[in-house]
Assembly symmetry: C4
Homo-oligomer: 252 residues x 4
């Protein structure tokens, strides 16, 4: 295997596709959006699978007992509105140069499909359970900041503290260097739990800005499951003491 | 030294050899099987030794005071049934890209010997001492899943959790990309102890599927030694309190 | 992106420029000096920005919501006296080879601008709050040691213990190998706090040795802010017990 | 700078020189021997200095305030008996591939000087203070094992447990692959302290096997200093309880 191995599964023509990235991260927000899109748009088509020595050295075992090596996937998703090139997967790189090289490889694939705009999705941890799910933004240029603000995205000084790390962050950094306007949409999330409600908040913004429509059924199911989990945890903790948010571990 | 240094010791013709990998891992299950095969098939022949800068930087000191640099070995093992190309050693790679490159190097050697099927052996930790040793499987394709199920191998959803890591995992991942049907046989094991009984369970499946026969004498000896070790630990712990499995450290 | 990506923003002629490095480190002393120079010399001109896969994989989010990928910057600073090529940024490399390669890249840029002398700025931790801010030195050759001693810099046996690490250290090591006389000026600092007073002490030496004049207004403002912070911490700790320096965490 | 930068300082003709390596390690035994040889043989000549990006990114500050970048040194040492090519320094590599490549580089230098035999010096930790300092050995071949046993070196099964790591280990591993007979001499040492007595024991064996004579004055001075240190520690600990070896930290 070479440093990167881009496996071609299909090669459809896409019309001005928008790259949407939903890899694992805080609250699995980006990943939940990606999974939701694949579930709702049933004719989403796997177009590329990327293997790399920068991924962790492992295979996943699928439900039927067969294995899949660590990889990232690109699907072509045709909506009523815009075409989406969806980047999803279960892994980030294992070291710093790997993150840069992997993101460069992803952008090569995106450019081959004609992508001229990109969205990196993620979560921003608040440290406490959330009632109102705001979406925090960052972008490579002022025009996008304005456009996203109009769509309800919040831009806050010094947030996220520490910047945006991993593939999401570098999509903006390396995207800008390729003149691909890129924005990051980060759903507020406690940071302790897989958070379908935060994913929904991000998806609502994405729908408006990218221009497509999608149902929320499966995200709502997941949100209900998580409500159950949270309720159980709270009950378990409600013995002698009142439960504190800080006691919740990352569960999902 | 280059990144890899494949030392040639012999170059026998093998008939449709099956690659069997038994490197260190959970419960040393794969390594025990490999050692057992080398002990039982006395005319096993060392054919390749692989050195690499991806191995830990160290030499082992043998009983006679001479040293051997970290390496992996391939032996040609001729049984009554199939020919086996046996991969064994004391090390895995020290970083993620190293795992990928090392496994690729191993598959190059295997293909040079005409290998068209491979088995990665290992253990799956249960966290408690085991009475009935099941063998859990994973494979690159459905046909193997069926064949292995028929041989008593269990395929379980979400097991092993976290997938299969290291060389064993990548033999499946990179093997599949080379069109080499590969399966992983994982003996259930507590995860705290070197586990000859788990190795035997794996060996029994391997015998049936690969088609060869071998005695169990040396594994039984080892199993008895381990029984003694476990008994002593349990006695030591049986002072004021009943011993708990969790107190057992990794011993062997 | 290549291993290094040196973005050209301007290409002014500089007269015998002196390289001054102020990257993050102990007490942020070097970084404070660099920021201060950029604030005081308003016509400082960004000439190069260096991106590298050896930097952490992240983007910073600026106050206007736009992002900047991890990088280091070179500014041309024209003073009344000498011209300065100022190296600043928020990051060091993520691994050992990265430090060497990054520093080599920085020296390539410096030599392209005709740099024939360099200063690496930093802090040396004392472990306690400081009254008198000494500046400790190290240099690639005896002549500089003499010159700096005459300017009040202290050279102490075995200090800093453990040598000088990171880009600052390698500027001396690799600078020497390129025959660029290089010195390191390290302000004494507690090591617990961002330390504008230590930065001022270093700046005073730098002014004298490099030959330029600059006001201290913004550093004094920052020093006052830090005084407030220290006072608050001391009040918080002055409950039942007298506060100890060791309790102060790194704050700034 | 390239991956390795071998600086040439002198190029004397040596007669059948023996490579002796004394880099930092357990009890600083090898390093102490190397330093002792340089002190006793005053006309030892620096012949090569090796810089590498695999060393830690740092410079040491010498007593006169000037700096030296992390490096290893080769000295030509002419004794009454054999010529010695002495490898010394303050650093090992920072990662696994670095250890392999650095050792290969060292062996290239050694072969350029005509080295046909090598000794790696080090310590083997016993975990307790030592009365009788044995020297434990390992070698690339049986003949050396015999020769060293005759010189009082002990070869013990399973010692050192875990093998020999770092440059010392790889000198044997990679030396063997170049057909350079290599032995490792490891002085027993507590592992908690810099141990001049252990260094002396190793030196006595080395003298006999390599054939040279050297005084012990400076090592004895160091040993006396360490005796003082140990005495002080023991007094400090002899308050309410008897001191235990385990309480001694690594001091020297």
């Amino acid at each position: 295997m070479d440093e990167f191995d881009v496996e071609e599964h299909a090669d459809p023509e896409l019309e001005d596709p928008v790259l949407v990235e939903g890899l694992p991260g805080v609250g699995h927000v980006g990943k939940l959006v990606a999974e939701h899109l694949l579930e709702e748009f049933e004719d989403a088509e796997l177009v590329r699978r990327v293997y790399s020595e920068h991924f962790p050295p492992q295979v996943a075992v699928d439900d039927d007992g067969t294995t899949t090596m660590a990889s990232a996937e690109f699907h072509a998703v045709r909506t009523d509105g815009a075409d989406i090139l969806l980047l999803s997967g279960d892994h980030q790189a294992t070291d710093a140069p790997g993150h840069y090289r992997l993101t460069d490889c992803f952008l090569d694939v995106a450019e081959a499909f004609g992508v001229e705009r990109a969205f990196a999705l993620g979560g921003v941890p608040t440290g406490e359970l959330i009632e109102e799910y705001a979406v925090v933004g960052a972008a490579t240029d002022d025009e996008q900041v304005e456009e996203l603000e109009a769509a309800g995205v919040e831009f806050r000084e010094d947030e996220p503290a520490g910047g945006i790390v991993g593939v999401s962050g570098l999509l903006l950094g390396l995207g800008e260097r390729r003149d691909i306007p890129t924005a990051c949409l980060m759903g507020e999330t406690s940071g302790y739990l897989v958070d379908p409600k935060s994913a929904r908040a991000v998806l609502e913004v994405l729908q408006e800005v990218v221009d497509f429509e999608v149902g929320y059924a499966s995200l709502e199911d997941r949100a209900e499951e998580m409500e159950e989990v949270i309720k159980k945890i709270q009950e378990m903790e409600q013995g002698p003491q009142t439960p504190s948010d800080e006691d919740l571990r990352y569960i999902g």
